[in-house]
């Protein structure tokens, strides 16, 4: 093969996510502080919903007790079935459609939301078996769901989302606010 660049440290190697996805954020979902979500948007418009690194579930050494995709009596995200190239049959989600409810061992409960409009393609069943994946690899193996926005809306869905820089500055502000004497 042709010449190989020596990549010395881990930090230098751009990951799959860095190479192919754009990170978008939604902060303080439904007014709840720090319940931040990170939406990974692929160049082909498919979005992967994940927890942002600031989400409470990932803080303070929490351990997950259960993950439930049954969001109401009549609806379980596990029943989602898509067929064909046009992904017919997938549940249509709006920005605040719940994806799942996560309960931790310290009895705290969190709802994870869709954050964007689109058709639900799949939810991550691996985290049902191995909830630790969500804690260890929230941006990759611990993803929550995959959503396909409508073709016409693929660019406009990001209008309501925060870019990485915008999100980082909000996070920075929080730390400042917290350290302010009341």
């Amino acid at each position: 093969m042709d010449c190989v660049e020596q990549k010395d440290t881990e930090a230098n190697a751009p990951s799959v996510v860095d190479r192919y996805y754009t990170r978008w954020y939604r902060a303080d979902l439904k007014g709840k502080t720090c319940e931040d979500h990170c939406i990974l948007q692929h160049s082909n418009r498919i979005c992967v919903i994940t927890l942002a690194h600031t989400h409470p579930i990932l803080q303070d050494g929490r351990i997950i007790k259960s993950i439930n995709y049954q969001i109401s009596n009549g609806c379980s995200r596990l029943n989602n079935k898509v067929s064909g190239k046009s992904k017919r049959g997938g549940q249509f989600l709006t920005d605040f459609a719940p994806l799942c409810r996560i309960t931790c061992t310290d009895e705290t409960e969190y709802t994870i939301y869709s954050c964007i409009r689109g058709r639900l393609l799949e939810v991550n069943e691996n985290i049902l078996e191995t909830p630790n994946l969500l804690l260890e690899k929230p941006s990759t193996e611990g993803y929550i769901a995959v959503i396909l926005p409508k073709f016409e809306e693929s660019k406009s869905i990001t209008e309501n989302l925060l870019s990485r820089e915008e999100f980082e500055s909000i996070v920075a502000k929080r730390t400042v606010d917290q350290s302010q004497p009341t």
Binding site: M1, V4, Q6, K7, D8, E10, A13, S15, V16, Y20, H42, N44, R45, I46, V48, V82, S83, G84, K85, K87, L121, E122, N124, N126, L133, K137, T140, E141, Y143, V146, L148
Partner: protein
Amino acid sequence: MLPLKEKDKPIVQKLLSAGCCARCVLRFCCVSVQAAYRKPPQVRLILHEEHDSASPPEDPPSKRAKLEAGPSEEDAAAAVKLKDEESRVCVVCLGILQDLCGPAQALKVCTVKAEKYEFDTLVLSVSLPAQLCVREVSVSVWCHKQTPKSIAVDRDDLIQVKEAFKWIMQGLVAKELGGVASLFEVSVEFTYPETDADCHFLATTCSDCFKPTKNKQSVFTRMAVVKALEKIADAKFLKHYPSPPAQPTSSCIPQDVQCLHMSVFVAGRYNKFCRSLPQTPWVIDGERRMESSVEELIAAPVLSSFRSDGFNFSSSGREDVDVRTLGNGRPFAMELLNPHRSRLSRAEMKQLQETINKSSDKIRVRDLQIVTREAMSRMKEGEEEKTKSYTALIWTLKPIQREDITFIDDIKDLTLDQKTPLRVLHRRALAVRQRVIHSMNTRFLDSHHFYLGLKTQAGTYIKEFVHGDFGRTKPNLCELLRTDTDILELDVESVDVDWPPSIPE
């Protein structure tokens, strides 16, 4: 000898009086002797030949005597009537079997366009307005009413206008062009806007036969009209359409002649040495995202040599933009549309191959040859069934040593469950595919890199096996090595399909 029989006589008179031309009369009498249609279209030549040659013995002598007798007043009137009849446009074929076919038209058809083609064989194709079907049924129904016992109304036996036209024209055109028959198609089209409305009643009576069209094209396609006519009962037909049909005032209008040569198929194997070349043109929203493509680089010289208008490119699988294709290359085949030239010698094919190879250092072509259409399926076989070999450059998050990767060499026939990769999920159905990696081998590079060779089943997603695709391909290399891994480069080493046959250099 006249192909018409005594029993046809009554129907012949009826058809003539309804406004049919001589050749249409022959058609309705189910005359399948092609030579009869090739005579000039005058009624007396086609229908009243019997006083020239020996008449059939069944003919009563009195009838013959009457025909041979000198022109009487009655005959003169009949002769005038005949002349009037002949100058009218036929109510069924709208002139197509009258003045619109014959040696003069054959000459028109063989214009300069046709002369620039090389061909061995010729086929004549004809496109007729759908109204003709309606008029045909109208006359047919009328005949049946007039003479119910006549066999002429068995619609299956009727000679179609298209058929009669070809019987007359094919030979003339071929003679004019000097070819024989088949690979080269000359298309003749006729339109008749005046009677577009002829079909409209069918839309209300048989509405389920007609699909609404998005374009401005007419809903009354030939196929739809034929289907509706088959469905509609005679009685209902007569309620909506005059029988016999109304006399037209002009003939059909011939459109431009189209000449089309049957496609020629060129196959070979290609190498791709560039990591920024897509296989097909990459265009989004009308904007080209990447310069050129494998198919365009190969097609340009080929289209030029065969003087073809366009092409369809297909190959035994595809590689990504950033993947090279090494070794013997990947089998491909191109359908060349309407080539003005269809034969190239072996030497000329070799020359063409050279031209392609000289034109760019990004690709290379070998085993270039002309193949049949059937051979295309051999190539597509490879896509599903055959194995492929790859080399990948792997990066690992945790530092590794030589011994850490040797176990990979011993893994045989590893079955993967691969969910449709996210990067293609927008255009593929969501599914889990089982694929086998038959064997692997490793070559250590440094503490964070090694080369991984793989031999896999067709359809295996290599990149996803390496990085795991969010854990949606299992097992994956990250799990096997217990560290995050990524793929930096990928090469296709071989596509194990033994087609097309190799051509020694």
